[in-house]
């Protein structure tokens, strides 16, 4: 049909439609960007105002909130709002998980890129992608039914412990770390490898002395992104960590994190009550922490560019 039109019309039409397409395309992407930015800013503002209410409106001291280890918000006569044990729990479980997942993930990445780039990648890549696809509630349930009894019987304690949380989280953040580390390793210029081999280095020496140091900022980014995910994870951790308000004394003690306390209590509390406000304050701490993680990542990637 269109071929029957005179050339002029055809060209003119296509020109106008191209311009229209240009404009619409631009409008669409700008709109996307604006929506994303607005959403982020709106969430930040909302969470800040809500989170600060417990200090401004309810008069809880920030120092006490952050440093006291006594949490007893329902005690009518003498309520205490110290979230230190939960902050500690969040950090402890996150760092422990990263300690387990980082070597595993980076090792897997090196295996995929350096040792067995063809068949290793073919096997490991789908496995890692599969791990991403498993919902966190499933991780939690497996942790509750398999891991907790196993630790109770073979390691000690109640089974509900930092250790269980650490293992579940380590498996959950493994794909994040592996994927980013693999990208980092495979994007290293080949002349690094060739130069190293030319100097007579073995493969392991090349990996250890040349490739890993060269990719280090990206590898650290991978670990921190994994930690950011671990820090914010609620459901799976809640099912295995025991949610005890006391400070844990050992890795086998039950503990609680900021996210588990929020998810356990949010539905039961009424909007505007002190308890609800303190939960929002915990949410604000989580937000600040995720900003800190992002700043750290940006710092690391700026270092990477300088190289």
């Amino acid at each position: 049909m269109e071929k029957l039109l005179p050339a002029q019309n055809r060209l003119l039409k296509s020109k106008s439609s191209r311009l229209g397409g240009e404009f619409r395309g631009k409008l669409f992407v700008i709109l996307c960007a604006v929506i994303m930015i607005t959403a982020t800013i709106a969430i930040t503002i909302f969470l800040s105002t809500k989170g600060l209410q417990s200090f401004t409106k309810n008069g809880i001291s920030i120092i006490e909130f952050l440093t006291s280890s006594k949490w007893d918000p329902t005690n009518k006569a003498n309520p205490a709002y110290g979230v230190l044990p939960f902050i500690f729990g969040s950090f402890a479980v996150t760092i422990l998980a990263a300690l387990v997942a980082a070597p595993l993930g980076i090792g897997g990445a090196i295996f995929m890129t350096e040792i067995a780039p063809s068949w290793g990648r073919k096997i490991l890549q789908p496995v890692v992608e599969l791990l991403v696809g498993i919902p966190s509630v499933v991780y939690g349930f497996i942790g509750l039914t398999v891991l907790v009894p196993f630790i109770r019987e073979h390691v000690g304690g109640l089974g509900f412990s930092l250790l269980s949380g650490m293992i579940v989280l380590a498996i959950m953040i493994l794909p994040t770390i592996t994927t980013i580390a693999t990208d980092a390793m495979s994007s290293l210029p080949n002349h690094l490898r060739e130069g190293s081999y030319a100097l007579g280095a073995t493969r392991w020496q090349t990996i250890r002395k040349v490739l890993v140091p060269a990719a280090l900022p990206s590898l650290l980014t991978a670990i921190i992104l994994g930690m950011a995910r671990a820090f914010g994870e609620a459901l799976a951790v809640q099912m295995v960590i025991g949610n005890v308000r006391d400070m844990p004394n050992s890795i086998l003690d039950a503990s609680a994190t900021l996210t588990t306390i929020i998810t356990l209590n949010m539905g039961h509390t009424t909007y505007g009550s002190v308890e609800n406000n303190t939960l929002w304050s915990m949410g604000l701490i989580l937000l600040i922490m995720s900003f800190a993680f992002i700043l750290l990542i940006r710092y690391l990637s700026s270092r990477r560019k300088l190289r």
């Binding site: 329902t74 109640l158 089974g159 949610n243 308000r245 039961h268 009424t270 909007y271 009550s273 002190v274």
Partner: protein, 308 residues
């Protein structure tokens, strides 16, 4: 071909927008219709229509949803949506008017930040609960004072109470949980329990008690369906329906449905339906609740009990 694609995308988008707009509109229209009905009692026998949004206690959600299902089957033009978000959420939402009924497992007076005087309480069911222990503990009856000692951490081994030589492991509920509030008030006489594993979901609590040596927690009667956990009698009074109804067994609570101001229209019709013999005597039992209509005692928000 290209324009056709674009056109279909546009149509799809428009359809989506119109659809969502229609959905949004239906809610408000429907509830208005519901309230209009009330103004004209002559029309009461007419078929009910409209929509109703209910929110609140996750423990009550299955019961209310099941009742709503039957109600909708009888009144096909009615649409009832039952959300679970927790008692606090239900009370807050009904107070601010975003839902018509807010379910709660505690009195609104007990929750901070809710205008309890604006809300009207409809007690739709009673739930009995008791302490539950791991069957290997070897105890079936406990004195109330011992129970308090167990939960406050003064007794730490079951052999002190004549059970097996097992360390006591407490399984608590979150601070703000209604179940915890009821148990603390009526089983522990207001004592604050010592720290222990904390879980919100009754199913998880039951699972933990049944799997952990020496564990004790508390569950509603409806969770004692098998012998994976042992319900405890308190001061020799067995945790049975009859004992709760006669007021002998102390640990029970109402399940409340709150409306803002007196219930009207569809909300009233549904609450009446919940109180009907049909629901109270059959559905409630199926869901593990006790009919509120058969209670021989009643309680106020402060926990004072008296005979009726």
């Amino acid at each position: 071909m290209k324009s056709l694609k674009k056109f279909s995308l546009l149509t799809l988008l428009t359809a989506l927008i119109i659809f969502s707009a229609a959905c949004g509109g239906k809610g408000t229209n429907g509830s208005k219709e519901g309230t209009d009905k009330k103004d004209n009692p002559a029309q009461k026998t007419e078929e009910l229509s409209g929509s109703l949004v209910i929110s609140g206690s996750s423990a009550m959600q299955p019961l209310v949803a099941a009742a709503a299902e039957e109600f909708m089957a009888e009144n096909p033009k009615v649409d009832i949506q039952v959300n679970a978000g927790g008692s606090g959420t239900g009370l807050s939402q009904v107070a601010e008017g975003s839902v018509q009924i807010g379910n709660s497992d505690v009195f609104a007076e007990e929750k901070e930040g809710v205008p309890a005087d604006q809300l009207v309480d409809h007690k739709v069911a009673v739930v009995g609960m008791t302490a539950a222990v791991n069957p290997k503990v070897g105890i079936k009856d406990i004195k109330k004072e011992d129970l308090i000692k167990v939960f406050t951490g003064k007794i730490t081994n079951w052999k002190e109470l004549g059970g097996e030589n097992q360390k006591i492991v407490l399984v608590n509920r979150p601070d703000s949980s209604g179940t915890r509030a009821v148990f603390n008030q009526f089983a522990l006489d207001g004592a604050t329990p010592a720290e222990g594993i904390t879980e919100d979901s009754s199913n998880t609590v039951k699972k933990i008690i049944s799997e952990t040596e020496g564990a004790i927690g508390y569950l509603a009667f409806s969770y004692f369906t098998d012998d994976s956990v042992t319900p405890l009698a308190i001061d020799g009074v067995k945790p049975t329906e009859e004992n709760v109804q006669s007021g002998k067994f102390p640990i029970w609570a109402y399940q409340h449905s709150y409306t803002k101001g007196e219930a009207e229209g569809l909300a009233k019709a549904f609450l009446d339906y919940l109180m009907s013999d049909n629901i109270q005597n059959t559905l409630l039992k199926e869901q593990g609740y006790l009919p509120v209509t058969k209670m021989k005692v009643e309680r106020d928000a402060k926990g004072n009990q008296k005979d009726i």
